[in-house]
Assembly symmetry: C2
Homo-oligomer: 136 residues x 2
C-alpha cells in the first residue's frame, strides 16, 4: 500500500504520516525499488489507533506511551487507564474554563448598547478588569 492509499484509508494526511515517522510514532516502512514507502495492514492499524487518539485530543507523548503499553500485552492495564483518566480530567478543566469564558463573553456582547467606540462595552470590558464578575 502506498502512502497515499494509507492516507485515504486512515484520514491522516500524507505529510502528517511522514511527520509521524520522523517523530517515531510509526516505524519506517519498507520501500519500493524506487524508494517509495510501502505499508502493510499492521501499519494501517497502528495509524488508525493514532488517528483516533489524536481526534480525542491526546498528545503525541501520551499516544507514544499507550503504544508502548499495547506492545506489552501482559502488563496490567492500570497505566493505560491512568493516561485516559488524566486526559478526562484535563478535558473537564478545559470545559469548565471555557464555560466561564462563555458567560463573560455573553455579558460583554449583550451589554453593549453604545453607538460608537467611546461608549463600547466590549472595549471597556477589555480595558477594565474590574468589570469582570469573576476573577479569572
Amino acid at each position: 500500500m502506498s502512502i497515499g492509499e494509507l492516507s485515504r484509508k486512515t484520514g491522516v494526511k500524507v505529510p502528517t504520516i511522514r511527520y509521524y515517522e520522523q517523530m517515531k510514532l510509526v516505524t519506517a516502512p519498507e520501500r519500493s525499488a524506487g524508494n517509495q514507502r510501502r505499508y502493510s495492514i499492521v501499519e494501517l492499524e497502528r495509524l488508525t489507533f493514532i488517528k483516533h487518539a489524536r481526534d480525542l485530543g491526546l498528545k503525541i507523548d501520551a499516544i507514544r506511551e499507550l503504544l508502548d503499553l499495547s506492545a506489552h500485552p501482559e502488563q496490567p492495564c492500570a497505566d493505560a487507564n491512568q493516561i485516559a483518566q488524566n486526559h478526562l480530567n484535563a478535558t473537564r478543566e478545559r470545559i469548565a474554563k471555557l464555560q466561564k469564558l462563555e458567560v463573560e463573553l455573553l455579558r460583554i456582547t449583550t451589554g453593549c448598547h453604545g453607538d460608537s467606540i467611546k461608549d463600547c462595552y466590549v472595549i471597556q470590558s477589555l480595558s477594565d478588569h474590574a468589570l469582570c464578575q469573576d476573577g479569572h
Copy 2:
C-alpha cells in the same frame, strides 16, 4: 516604569512583553540612557487590555483589530461587538466538542475491567473506531 515592573503589574511575563513589541501589539517605548525600556501609564493600560483579551482566549489578530478600533472612538462599535460575538460562537463550538470528548473518555475509562493490556478497553477503544458511539 521598567519592563519588570510593568510585568509585575500586568501579569504578562517580560519576554512576552518584548514579543508583543516585536509583533507590534504594543509600540516600542522610550528608552533610558542605558537603552532600557521605560513605560508610562498609557502602555500599562494597553497591556492590561491585551492581557485581559488573551486570558479570554482572543487571538493576537483579533486583539490587534480591537486595538485599532479603540483608537478610533467615533466609529460605530458594531465591529467590536462582532469580534466578541465571533469569539463567543467559537467558544461554544469548542465546548460542544469537548463535551462529546468527555462522554467518550468516560465510557473508555469506566469500561476497562480487564487486568492486563490484552483485555484493556482503553487500548481496544483506541484501536477500533467501531466501538465509538458517535462518529467524530
